[in-house]
Subunit: 324 residues, 2 copies
Amino acid sequence: MQPTAPAGEFGLIDWIRRQQSGRSHQGTVLGIGDDCAILEVSAGSRLLVTTDMLMDGRHFRLESDGAEAVGYKAMGVNLSDIAAMAGLPRAAVVSVALPRGNAVLIGQGLSAGLKRMADRFEVDLIGGDTNAWDGPLVVSVALLGETSPPGPVRRSGARPGDVIVVTGPLGGSLWRGRHLRPEPRIKEALAICVAERLNAMIDISDGLSSDLNHILEESGGLGAILDADEIPIHPDAIDQSRTDGISALDHALHDGEDFELCVVLSAERSRRLLARPPEPVRVYRVGEITAEPGLWLRRSGGVVLPLEPCGFDHFRNRDSAGGP
Amino acid sequence: MQPTAPAGEFGLIDWIRRQQSGRSHQGTVLGIGDDCAILEVSAGSRLLVTTDMLMDGRHFRLESDGAEAVGYKAMGVNLSDIAAMAGLPRAAVVSVALPRGNAVLIGQGLSAGLKRMADRFEVDLIGGDTNAWDGPLVVSVALLGETSPPGPVRRSGARPGDVIVVTGPLGGSLWRGRHLRPEPRIKEALAICVAERLNAMIDISDGLSSDLNHILEESGGLGAILDADEIPIHPDAIDQSRTDGISALDHALHDGEDFELCVVLSAERSRRLLARPPEPVRVYRVGEITAEPGLWLRRSGGVVLPLEPCGFDHFRNRDSAGGP
C-alpha cells in the first residue's frame, strides 16, 4: 500500500509510529509518542528510555557557544525528558560526529560539559561512539532512567475541565543563551507528583503551544484555552520583543527550549497545588482543558481567539540556532 | 591540571573514559570500554546498552546506497555489538538529522530499513528524535538488550595460550557493499557461548587487527600471533585486491565492517569448538594469545613479523564511505 505522505516533522513522526507499531515484546509498556519510552525489564522494574540529538547550526553554534556548553545542553535536554515522566535519571550513552580538523579538542570539551551536567543529576556516562568527519558537530545522547513510585506521568491522561500549570516563566530562551543552560526539572517533577496526582505532563522544548498540543492529541483529541494574562513571561522574552518586534506573549507561547514542565491535573488538585506548591517548585496556572478540540487564547477582555500550535518545527524553520 | 593530549580516536576515547570514571551507581556493572555497557536494573536483571552513529560520506553514501539501506545498516551494526556480548537484543531508540530538502522521504526510507533489520531480531523501535538540517544524513541508534545466561562475554578475559577464532571470512566489505548488509551474529554468539566457555569476544567492526588489539589491551596488555595462512579471506577481499593492489590478506587483517565475531577461548576448548562447531556457526582458528605484548603475523615459512593494528580510525582516514 502507498503510505500517505506525512507533512512536516510531526507528520513524519506519526508515520514512523504507525510503521513501527505491531509486534512488540510484552515488556514494551510504552513505545513512540511520549517524552520517554517505558520498558519492563523484570517484574515490577520499569525503565525509561529517551534520546535527543543536537546539531551545529540548529541547536547551538559551536564557534560561539563552545563544545563544553554543547555537551552540557545535550545531557540537559535528555534529562528534561526524564523529568517530564517524573523519572529518576540513571545512565547515558553518547554518540558524536566531531569535525575532523579539531576533533580531539572538541571531543574533550564536549565530554567535560556532558559530565558536568551528568554529575549534577548523578547520571553515569556508560558508553558511546566517537566519530570524526568533514561535517559539523552532531551529538546524540540516549538516557536511561527509572520510573518513580508516583510516576510515570504520560502525555495521554488529560481530561476536560483539567487545569494547565507550568513551572516557570517562558519565552526568549535564545536571547541570552538560556537554551544552552537547561535546568532539568527532575526534582520539581517528583515533588509535584508526590504532592498531587497528575493527569498529564510534558516538558516545554518545542514551545508551550506546540507541546500542550501534543498532550491534547495524545489525550484523544481534546482542546485547551490558555489565558493570555496568566502566562508567565520570562524577562528574556520581554527584552527580545523590544528588538524583534514579536510580542513577549508570542515568545512565551511559541518559543522552544524553556525546559519547564507543562502539567495537567484536576481543577481541585490544581487549587491545592497552586495554593501550597511543594518546595522548591514554582507553579503558574495558564489555562484549562476543554472537551472541544482546538487551542484557544483568552484575552483579558474575555475575547477568545484561535491559537495555532506553532512551536519549533525543524522541517520549517531554518534560521535560529536554538531549537529542540 | 592540564590533561594529556590524546592521539587519535582511541586516544580520545581513553581520555573520556578516564574523565568519566569515578562516582557511579552501584548498578553500573560495566561502563565505557566494551561493546556494550552493563547495567543492573534490579536484582539479577542485567541490561546491555550500546550506541552507534552512522554519517553520510563516512559509513554510507546516501545518494548511491539509499535511505533504506542506511537504516538497515544502522540497526545491524548496533545488533552486532549486542552479539559481541552474547546478549539478546530487545529495544532501540533512534535519533536522526535528515537533510532538509528531502527530509520526509529520507525519513520514511530510513524507518523502513531500521524496521526490516529490527524485525529480523525481534527488536522493538520504542522512540526517537527527528530533526532536519542543512547538513548530511546522520543516524544514531541506541540499542538495549538482555544478558544471556551464558553471557555476557567481555573483551577483558583473554589469557596467554588462549586461541583466537573468527566466525567468517574477512576483508573487502566495501567492495560489493557488503558493509551495508551486516549479518549480526546474535544466534552464533549464543550458540558458541552455550557450547564452550569463552574468555573474551568482540565484533569485527574496525578490522581484525584493530579489534583484536582492543581485546589485548583490555585483558591487561597481552599480545597475539596471527597465522597468515589460517586467516579466512573473503572472496570480496580477493576481488578488491586485484584492483587496488593491496593484498587480500591485508584486507582481511585490516578492513572493517565484516561484523564477524572474534572469539578468544582456552586451547582445549578451542579444539572442541573447532572440531564440532554448533549449528549454524562457522569457526576459523586464526592465532593465539601471548603473554608478551604486541601483535605479530606468522608467515607460512615460520617467519614472524610485527603487525600494526591499523583498522579504521575516523580521525585519520578520509576517503572511504564504509567504516565503523
